[in-house]
């Protein structure tokens, strides 16, 4: 056996070019597998983070009707002022950060140009910054302060309307009593956050501003909660108990998972899709390995014939070739792992910028257009083992086929 192993390794070093080319093919497949998996994993996790950090918080408290119709942002099924105050106290008692928000649909226009629909959220800037991360993504001007009479718009809105900081935007909307309202608001800040839903659809004004102009009378359409450790359940249970004990039975809670159920369902489908993608990459890698290994074995049928003519047993010949294939797989997998790690390091720190290629295209993920990577040691190990196993498995059949030939035919084989 020792001699067979030595012979296999000698073969590897003897056919340097072939060894390198075959290993590179395996390495390329393995690296691609590691890189793609890391990117898809990042996109999935980043989408969930962005949903919580920019769109929803960990959970919200709202009326039951509002929970059913949240996509329409109705102003007639909201939490009235006394209940808002009670819920804010509940948030304090449960150690959560909370932010009352009132969302409403508006048509925004600039210089009597075309109007674009947006959802405007009336927020308390100080409280909102503790729940959401919009404040950390201001790229021009300032975040709102409590008495600000301006509006915070997204970089997307700036581009679409052709408006800039310090200029005035017209917001047409309805008040709580369905009365038409139009306000001329100064753009005081521009944000660019990694959640495309928020970037493309949402703008922000202060609650004070909304109170004075939209007949809101202290109401809020939802109160967003953020738990300190990021875990929903313990805080959610406490909030539910306190809501019941304070007889706030008309109010309900909705978690980010419930709100994002559509997205999460798509995400699950995407995971399935990602698995298919990974599987296809596996297949491509496997076909590559099969191809190079088969060629490498059939190229050496004469050599096998010679070994058999010199008295080497068929099984030993097969073993020798399998060990050689395992060696090739090992070299390819090590190289692939190294390349995959390098690509992942680049992906984690720099990322791939798809901005120019996909501009306003909807990826279906709640991420920006720069795609990063996430470490996935499990997949790295799996890819490494797969590289070796695949090489071994695909070398068995052609080796067996080659040794079935007559020695004389093998020697004459072209």
């Amino acid at each position: 056996m020792k001699n067979i192993v030595i012979l296999a390794f000698k073969n590897l070093t003897r056919h340097k070019k072939r060894t390198i080319i075959t290993s590179i093919a395996i390495a390329f497949g393995i690296a691609l597998l590691i890189w793609m998996d890391g990117m898809l994993k990042w996109a999935d996790n980043e989408s969930k983070r962005n949903l919580k950090n920019y769109e929803f918080g960990n959970f919200i408290v709202c009326t039951k009707e509002y929970a059913d119709d949240r996509k329409d942002f109705p102003l007639d099924s909201v939490i009235e002022k006394p209940e808002v105050e009670k819920v804010l106290i509940i948030a304090e008692n449960t150690g959560c950060f909370s932010s009352p928000r009132t969302g409403f649909r508006s048509m925004m226009s600039y210089k009597r140009g075309f109007g674009l629909p947006y959802v405007v959220f009336a927020i308390d800037p100080e409280l909102d910054a503790k729940v959401f991360k919009i404040k950390d993504n201001i790229i021009q001007g300032n975040y709102l302060d409590k008495n600000s009479e301006g509006i915070l718009i997204s970089a997307y809105c700036k581009k679409e309307l052709g408006i800039d900081i310090g200029e005035y935007i017209i917001m047409e909307t309805r008040t709580k009593y369905n009365t038409m309202q139009a306000l001329r608001l100064k753009v005081t800040g521009i944000f660019d956050c990694p959640n495309p839903i928020v970037n493309k659809n949402q703008l922000f004004i202060t609650r004070t501003m909304a109170e004075n102009n939209l007949q809101l009378e202290g109401m809020a359409s939802e109160i967003a909660f953020r738990t300190e450790n990021g875990d929903n359940q313990p805080a959610l249970n406490k909030v539910k108990t306190l809501l019941a004990s304070k007889k706030l039975t008309l109010l309900t809670t909705q978690t980010w998972q419930e709100y994002g159920s559509d997205y999460l369902a798509i995400s699950q489908t995407k995971k399935g899709g990602s698995k298919i993608m990974i599987f296809l990459i596996f297949v491509i890698v496997a076909v590559g390995i099969i191809n190079t290994m088969t060629m490498s074995i059939f190229e050496r049928v004469r050599e096998m014939g010679m070994l058999r003519a010199l008295g080497m047993r068929d099984n030993d010949v097969i073993k020798c070739f399998i060990i050689e294939a395992a060696g090739l797989g090992l070299i390819g997998s090590v190289m692939g792992l190294f390349l995959g790690v390098c690509l992942t390091i680049y992906g984690v720190n720099v990322g791939l910028d798809f901005t120019s290629s996909f501009k306003d295209m909807d990826f279906g993920y709640r991420t920006g257009t720069i795609f990063y990577n996430e470490w996935n040691p499990g997949m790295m190990l799996a890819a490494f083992i797969f590289g070796i196993l695949c090489s071994v498995l695909v070398s068995i059949l052609p080796s067996k086929k080659a040794v079935k030939m007559e020695i004389t035919d093998s020697i004459r084989y072209l």
Partner: protein
């Protein structure tokens, strides 16, 4: 001679009385009275007409033309079926506060609710709410007579209407009402902030069943440059009985 004097006296008395009555009537004109008369011209029990909307959107070179058949009863029920090539078969049904729409190729009707009711109807400068409103203004606004002005060659009262109910689409209107026919020839619609949003100008009025009824109206969006909709009505039939089955979902989904 005596007879002649008596006749002259009678004529003078009659003239004086007529002058007095006319002056008294003129003096008795109140903003509420003007608005009520304007309402009488605009409000109908039922209506049936063939409508055309010519939609101009500033940046668009070609105006879009939508034609439709409309039937309505009171303020609760209305049925519209579009007939222009691009929208043929699209139908709307208003039942109370509900509005249903069925696309040309859709199998079932969808309910339009909430914010969608406030959106533009078929891309025009009318919202669904605007286009289906048939309520008396006197019930919703407090009018004030602020002056008079000519619209074209017609002398008009200028009425300022401020909402007297909380739940209302426009908090303030300014209305130019024809002094002779009591038809609102121009209406400006304001936001709660006082910003002018829309302006409606009547371009043609027809006498139908004793009513002076506007049949050609231009609605201009004052916040969008060059955006206006010309709304024309033909073959208008007012206050005739309407078959109830028209206002059914079954008819909509037919």
């Amino acid at each position: 001679m005596k007879k002649q004097i008596t006749a002259l006296m009678k004529t003078l008395t009659a003239t004086l009385m007529a002058t007095f009555l006319i002056s008294a009537q003129a003096l008795a004109i109140t903003p509420e009275g003007i608005l009520s008369k304007a309402d009488d011209n605009s409000i109908y029990q039922s209506i049936k007409y063939i409508g055309t909307m010519t939609i101009n959107k500033g940046t668009r070179k070609k105006p879009r033309i939508k034609t439709f058949n409309a039937i309505a009863r009171g303020n609760d029920k209305a049925y519209i079926e579009f007939t222009n090539p691009g929208d043929r078969g699209t139908k709307y049904l208003k039942l109370g506060d509900e509005l249903w729409v069925k696309g040309a190729y859709a199998e079932r009707a969808d309910k339009i609710s909430g914010h969608k009711l406030r959106e533009s109807m078929m891309g025009s400068d009318y919202s669904y709410e605007d286009s289906m409103d048939n309520e008396k203004l006197i019930d919703k606004y407090n009018p004030a007579l602020t002056g008079s002005e000519n619209i074209g060659n017609k002398e008009c009262y200028i009425l300022e209407l401020n909402a007297k109910v909380k739940k209302i689409t426009y908090s303030r209107l300014i209305m130019w009402v024809d002094k002779e026919q009591f038809v609102p020839l121009k209406i400006q619609y304001f936001a709660l902030s006082g910003m002018l949003l829309k302006e409606m100008v009547v371009q043609e009025v027809k006498t139908i069943k004793g009513k002076y009824f506007p049949v050609k109206v231009k609605m201009e969006d004052k916040q969008r440059e060059g955006s206006y909709t010309l709304f024309e009505m033909e073959s208008v039939v007012l206050d005739e009985p309407v078959n109830e089955s028209v206002f059914s979902k079954k008819n909509l989904e037919k």
